[in-house]
């Protein structure tokens, strides 16, 4: 079995724990063993980056040091925000050895610089490339017309890093959906920010941004949204009803995690994956399409 270091992040240990459960189930089916990095800390997310450059780099650096110490060469980070911060920290610190040393002084496990930091979509894409996904996905997701929503942090970064998909029009989730026999729609808001960071600090703005995304998906006849980021999923799911009423969006769309689609196709029970714990009902569509 392939072994990957796994960084859940604070969100997957709390209100988005369902994503953590789904990741573990889905990766296991794909022949990948996830080893949660021991004693991981919060990556700092947007709070650190807007408060202190040092802290924003130091927090992810500690996690990278732990991966090194575990003897693993690649880490998969499902949360787009954690992924972005960790990749940026690695890139920035690898060209600033003085700063890296200063941070390493405080750490038991020092950061090196050669770990591959991966997002969840690229790991799934690689798995699909080996043919294992076709092999394990025996249930066709016929009737699903997802709007594949990547969010703003998977293909855009504040510094120069390697990006493994098209920056303006990414295709990885569409490719995965097609393997699963879902029919993804073509739409305009794939990488537009949903405003999750302002969900309660600037609710009006956040709901406006999110309503534009749902509006376009509805207009193009999607019957659901699929996303890999737990912050996007939470925001678009939890506040969709409020935003809908305020900004007049015609329909409500269930917001699936990419792991939920993969899991369903591989025959994992929806309730075990906690698909019944969404805010916008996500079970109804699956029942209707006989995908349960």
């Amino acid at each position: 079995m392939i072994q990957l270091a796994y960084y859940p992040g604070c969100s997957l240990h709390a209100s988005s724990q369902l994503y953590d459960i789904q990741c573990k189930l889905v990766f296991d089916r794909l022949g990948i063993e996830l080893r949660e990095i021991e004693d991981w800390n919060c990556c700092g997310a947007i709070a650190a980056s807007k408060t202190s450059d040092f802290l924003a780099l130091a927090l992810p650096a500690r996690n990278l040091g732990i991966v090194d110490a575990m003897g693993l060469s690649e880490i998969v980070i499902p949360c787009s925000s954690c992924y972005s911060r960790t990749l940026v920290a690695q890139k920035t610190l690898s060209s600033d050895p003085l700063l890296m040393n200063s941070i390493n002084e405080s750490l038991t496990h020092k950061m090196g610089g050669s770990i591959k930091v991966s997002n969840i979509l690229e790991v799934f894409a690689r798995a699909a490339g080996t043919g294992i996904l076709v092999e394990k996905a025996f249930k066709k997701l016929t009737g699903l017309r997802p709007a594949c929503y990547y969010g703003c942090l998977l293909t855009r970064f504040p510094c120069d890093v390697d990006i493994n998909d098209d920056v303006e029009n990414p295709q990885t989730m569409e490719m995965l959906c097609e393997v699963l026999s879902a029919v993804p729609i073509d739409w305009n808001y794939k990488t537009d920010c949903c405003g999750a960071s302002g969900a309660f600090t600037d609710a009006e703005q956040s709901q406006l941004l999110m309503s534009r995304i749902v509006q376009d998906a509805v207009a193009r006849d999607a019957n659901c949204i699929v996303t890999p980021c737990p912050l996007c999923q939470f925001n678009v799911d939890v506040y969709q009803d409020k935003a809908r009423k305020k900004y007049g969006v015609g329909k409500k769309l269930p917001v699936y995690f990419i792991t939920e689609l993969l899991g369903l196709a591989m025959g994992i029970d929806a309730e075990v994956m906690q698909v019944n714990r969404h805010f916008v009902d996500a079970m109804g569509l699956l029942r209707e399409l006989k995908l349960l």
Binding site: A14, I46, K50, T51, L59, I103, R156, V238
Partner: protein, 201 residues
């Protein structure tokens, strides 16, 4: 007719402000030629009334006040659309992060205290436990938030806010998504050390 502030050149503050921002953000904003590709992509530009190109002009003109106290700096969601589309690779979100950090260091009142209070509460929780604990973090945030709103006399806003959060909390509990345990890092001393070092940087 009074000239709008972005047309007034402040000679003695311009150069030092530009130099400080270039150094700290590592972005060469001098190479901006006002093509406005950033402005077209900014998701909050219309609501803010200021777009990244305008922000860069404010800095170049030496208007630190305008540069720090505008809605764009407050509303920027760090989606990096500006930076990715800029033909000169200027990451305006990095410039905004720098402006926010500078404002915090100078103890300036932010336009939207909810944002900064939330970041502070988030980091307070991370500083205590090494991980963000939702209940603790939200409690710290709401304490600060409510205190400020009471001081301003915004009682209706407080009631609405607390009601909304309570509603969310109850919904999460009903769906068994509320995490009641304390998520913590064992080697917290390392985290504390990093937070200490942050004060010096």
């Amino acid at each position: 007719m009074k000239q709008p502030s972005y047309m007034i050149y402040k000679a003695d503050t311009s150069r030092p402000l530009v130099d400080e921002i270039i150094k700290r953000s590592d972005q060469n904003l001098l190479s901006c030629y006002q093509c406005r590709r950033c402005a077209a992509g900014c998701p909050v530009g219309e609501e803010s009334g200021v777009t990244p190109d305008r922000l860069i002009r404010m800095i170049l003109l030496g208007d630190q006040d305008a540069a720090q106290n505008n809605l764009l700096v407050s509303k920027c969601v760090a989606c990096y659309t500006c930076g990715v589309r800029c033909p000169n690779s200027i990451q305006s979100a990095r410039i905004i992060e720098t402006l926010k950090q500078m404002a915090k260091e100078a103890h300036r009142q932010p336009l939207n205290h909810h944002m900064t209070d939330f970041y502070d509460a988030f980091l307070a929780s991370v500083g205590h436990w090494g991980r963000f604990n939702e209940i603790e973090g939200m409690a710290i945030y709401e304490t600060e938030n409510v205190a400020k709103e009471i001081f301003k006399g915004h009682f209706r806003a407080i009631i609405d806010e607390l009601f909304n959060q309570a509603q969310l909390g109850v919904a999460l509990i009903k769906k068994k998504r509320m995490h009641f345990g304390l998520d913590r890092v064992s080697r917290r001393a390392e985290i504390r050390s990093l937070f200490e070092k942050t004060k010096k940087h």
